[in-house]
């Protein structure tokens, strides 16, 4: 039967299930991921298909979850650990900042840590300050972590496959505002190499670099501006590490104008690194200053109207692009 709808949240479970079917060393652990199928329903069907031997409910112990995943990864398993909300990464940050990314290096290459830490990231669902932050930039400050943040169901599946197969640790950000969205179900064995950005809309006037939730926002902005005669190219980075700067620089060769749209705060956001590489290696190509549309430097407020003030919106993106196009 053809799928009526293949949602982003279905894609998470499907992506994990595909890898669990092909590789018995893939195991899952996290809070409420088993019989309850996840608070975001991103592990639906896993417990039923693979049972309690491969899908493990944990106590509320973020350090034990990620620390145990690390120990298992060092000893022959490929654990997929869930941290329910990305804000909670702070509770086990030692593992992401000091243990997992450093173990291989500081032992002179004696150990590998092939694990995935998945987590629900970002705003848009009105959960308030401690359950809404986009924190991909936290991970971006740590050498030794790979970072994935897909924007479509098909990319979720393809990048989940690559993340689980990766011999390096991967932090996999699932955006809460995208969970209910749907798209085509990818074919079997759909794998997207980590570190490959996608040009998701071609254009000639301005390049917009986006990630996760800001991809659909940027596409909407591009659609609106097409009506005004502005041609926007949208690049979906898909991964922050490896960071596909080659695709960004190649796009700038024909647009010469750059807007970076990121949900994490402007202060310390990943866009700062993207634009610093462009300033260093792409300066001659630019015909205008670079604009960053980013989260504001405030905690996320609760009310939708207030939240819209501080995270990227279609209006903020169109405004930034319009200004650049007439520069």
């Amino acid at each position: 039967m053809a799928d009526v709808k293949f949602t982003y949240r279905d894609a998470v479970a499907e992506g994990i299930a595909r890898e669990m079917r092909r590789d018995p060393s893939v195991v899952c652990l996290g809070e409420d991921i088993g019989a309850a199928e996840g608070v975001f329903k991103t592990t639906v069907g896993l417990f039923k298909e693979f049972g309690p031997g491969r899908v493990w409910d944990t106590p509320i112990s973020e350090q034990a979850i990620v620390g145990a995943a690390m120990g298992a990864a060092m000893t022959g398993m490929r654990p997929v650990a869930e941290i329910m909300f990305s804000d909670f990464l702070a509770c086990c940050w030692d593992y992401l900042a000091n243990e997992i990314p450093k173990a291989r290096y500081m032992t002179g290459g004696q150990v590998t840590v092939p694990l995935v830490v998945r987590t629900a990231n970002g705003g848009g669902l009105g959960f308030g300050a401690q359950h809404s932050q986009a924190v991909e930039n936290w991970a971006f400050t740590v050498p030794g972590l790979k970072i994935v943040a897909p924007s479509t169901p098909a990319d979720v599946v393809g990048l989940m496959a690559a993340a689980i197969r990766s011999d390096d640790p991967v932090v996999f950000f699932e955006h809460k505002a995208l969970l209910a969205g749907s798209g085509p179900r990818p074919p079997d064995d759909h794998v997207i190499e980590l570190g490959r950005a996608a040009v998701v809309r071609e254009g000639t006037d301005v390049t917009v670099v986006a990630l996760a939730s800001t991809v659909p926002l940027s596409l909407k902005a591009a659609e609106q501006l097409a009506g005004e005669g502005i041609s926007v190219e949208v690049v979906d980075l898909r991964c922050l590490i490896p960071l596909d700067m080659r695709t960004v620089l190649r796009s700038l060769e024909h647009t010469s104008r750059l807007v970076v749209v990121e949900e994490n705060p402007y202060q310390g956001g990943w866009g700062g690194t993207v634009v610093s590489v462009v300033a260093d290696e792409g300066f001659e190509m630019l015909d205008a200053p670079i604009k960053r549309v980013a989260g504001a430097n405030v905690p996320l407020p609760f009310a939708d109207s207030l939240e819209a003030e501080v995270i990227p919106t279609v209006d903020k993106i169109t405004e930034a692009i319009r200004r650049l196009s007439v520069y």
């Binding site: 031997g53 350090q63 145990a68 120990g71 291989r104 290459g109 004696q110 150990v111 695709t247």
Partner: protein, 325 residues
């Protein structure tokens, strides 16, 4: 332990003692930079445990971990070369004293964030359980680690999942410069917590290699039978300060004297004597250890520094460090 096993254990302990003395002297003479946390005095814990484990079992240690690397087969030369920033070091001079690792014999690292490796050991034990390998994992940690969250999260998870893991506390009475009793709500910092996790616990003489061996052997057997984790609090004492050149003036003289009289090497020697092992045999092991460590010092001193390119290897599993296209 048979007399032969005990003699081997003694020899290993002497080798560790000699290596630690060398590390101390090399630090004082400026050939070892940064810091060291010496385990002289703690030898019986590492050697007793290691002898009771299978070669494929997993061991996780702290920054005070030289004895665990050595007990699991690292050579004094590899260890001293690492401390001296030589390319022949255990971790290619990328780890240093606090991160000695010998993964090829299951010694999966020394970790310098207090308590962080307890969940890892639980995870390695979980992995062994999932694979049905019959392996056990052991986390060695200090008394100070019993007051950090990761300790409690690891014990609970290990108990709930009945994991084949041993938590071995090396209680040397101090966390850095503070007596552990001054900052801990219970008298036995590790063992008194075990009941809260429905986990059996034993308090043992950590300076008696035979006692450590037997206790760990029993706990490992339990774990292999699927009966879950055990907590062992091994009482011991460090012979040097906490780190670097710390003279450990905060420890009362009578306490130091009492513990120095209960040196794990003396305890083992007395046991060997009681078993009828001739003193010449014991002295021969002392001589061999001294010769091994002297040779190790010379070899490490003569070894080359690491190539600069090594700074950019092994961030990733492909051996490289590339972060962008």
């Amino acid at each position: 332990m048979t007399p032969e096993e005990l003699l081997d254990a003694y020899a290993e302990m002497v080798l560790i003692r000699r290596t630690e003395r060398a590390a101390h002297d090399l630090f004082m003479s400026g050939l070892v930079k940064g810091t060291t946390h010496l385990a002289a005095g703690h030898e019986a814990v590492a050697v007793g445990a290691s002898g009771a484990l299978r070669p494929d079992d997993y061991v996780f240690a702290t920054y005070r971990g030289h004895h665990h690397a050595l007990a699991r087969g690292a050579t004094p030369e590899e260890c001293l070369a690492e401390l001296m920033s030589r390319s022949t070091g255990l971790c290619q001079a990328k780890g240093g004293s606090m991160h000695l690792t010998k993964a090829s014999s299951g010694m999966l690292g020394s970790y310098a964030i207090v308590g962080a490796h307890l969940p890892m050991a639980a995870g390695a034990a979980w992995s062994a359980k999932l694979r049905g390998s019959g392996q056990v994992a052991v986390a060695f940690f200090g008394d100070g680690a019993t007051n950090i969250g990761a300790f409690h999260e690891a014990l609970n998870l290990a108990a709930v999942w009945a994991l084949p893991v041993l938590f071995v506390c090396e209680n040397n009475l101090y966390m850095e410069y503070t007596p552990i009793e001054a900052v801990t709500a219970v008298p036995n910092p590790a063992a008194d917590r075990a009941a809260g996790y429905n986990m059996p616990a034993e308090i043992i003489d950590g300076n008696d290699v035979v006692v450590v061996h037997e206790t760990v052997a029993r706990a490992a057997e339990r774990a292999r039978k699927g009966e879950g984790p055990t907590l062992i609090e091994a009482q011991t004492y460090r012979h040097f300060g906490h780190s670097r050149a710390d003279p450990a003036k905060y420890r009362p003289a009578d306490e130091v004297e009492r513990w120095m009289k209960h040196d794990p090497l003396d305890v083992a020697r007395a046991r060997l004597e009681a078993l009828g092992v001739p003193p010449e045999t014991v002295a021969d092991r002392d001589r061999r250890a001294a010769a091994t460590v002297d040779a190790a010092i010379a070899a490490a001193k003569n070894a080359p520094e690491p190539e600069p390119a090594l700074a950019f290897t092994d961030v990733w599993a492909d051996g490289g460090a590339a972060w962008r296209t």
